[in-house]
Symmetry: C2
Subunit: 134 residues, 2 copies
């Protein structure tokens, strides 16, 4: 895939990620405070690697999903890279762990625990997060 030629007027194929130092705790918390995004991060965490944008169970449209991914990326929670028509996502575990030790893990654990507790009514599915909104 030699880049035959950069399209003159195409959309930017380059994705901007914040540097490690630019990641703010408030932003990460904010990013994680949304049920949809929390679900995404949950899935990404279990995937432990790359993940396409469209394997999520979120009850939102594609546009909205794109929006959430962007928020996650711009707030330093995930990295994204193009791979053909798909876009691979991955958690920035190293950066996050270095900046806020244990944070991601703790939040994710709490999220799983809450999801499990909230499913007390018998449903057994659901590892994919995305709990319903308030």
């Amino acid at each position: 895939m030699p880049a035959t030629s950069t399209p003159s007027g195409g959309a930017p194929r380059v994705l901007g990620h914040p540097s490690r130092d630019a990641i703010r705790l408030e932003d990460v918390l904010h990013a994680l405070a949304d049920p949809v995004r929390l679900g995404i991060v949950l899935v990404l965490d279990e995937a432990e690697g790359e993940c396409s944008c469209s394997v999520f169970d979120a009850p939102v449209s594609k546009s909205t999903l794109t929006h959430h991914f962007r928020v996650l990326r711009e707030h330093g929670v995930i990295t994204q890279a193009y791979r053909g028509t798909a876009k691979m996502n991955a958690l920035r575990r190293d950066d996050l762990e270095d900046l806020f030790p244990g944070l991601l893990d703790t939040v994710l654990t709490a999220a799983r625990r809450q999801a499990a507790a909230g499913l007390g009514a018998g449903a057994g599915a659901a590892a994919t997060g995305a709990t319903s909104r308030s």
Copy 2:
């Protein structure tokens, strides 16, 4: 303090707090995602007990401060109780720890670390004091 009597047209002297089961992770995260509130929680954590509403260095007006305290309370992060003209605030450490083990501690540690790393352009939440935790 005897509850003299409910004034006919006065503000409710009773403060509603969510029950432990009603506390949602997303809400807590959201509450913590604001710099002002994070600063409040930081101070409250160091106070380890009660704390008046007006000992904060937040660069906001009193009304706004009240608003933030309410958000914190309604999202299950703190408890509030009247004591004369003052209102005492305290973290709901037990409930939070029971629901989301380690979360509060991790977030607070991360906040202190970030504050220490980015000193200079203070975002408002002063609260730079003893770094040692009990």
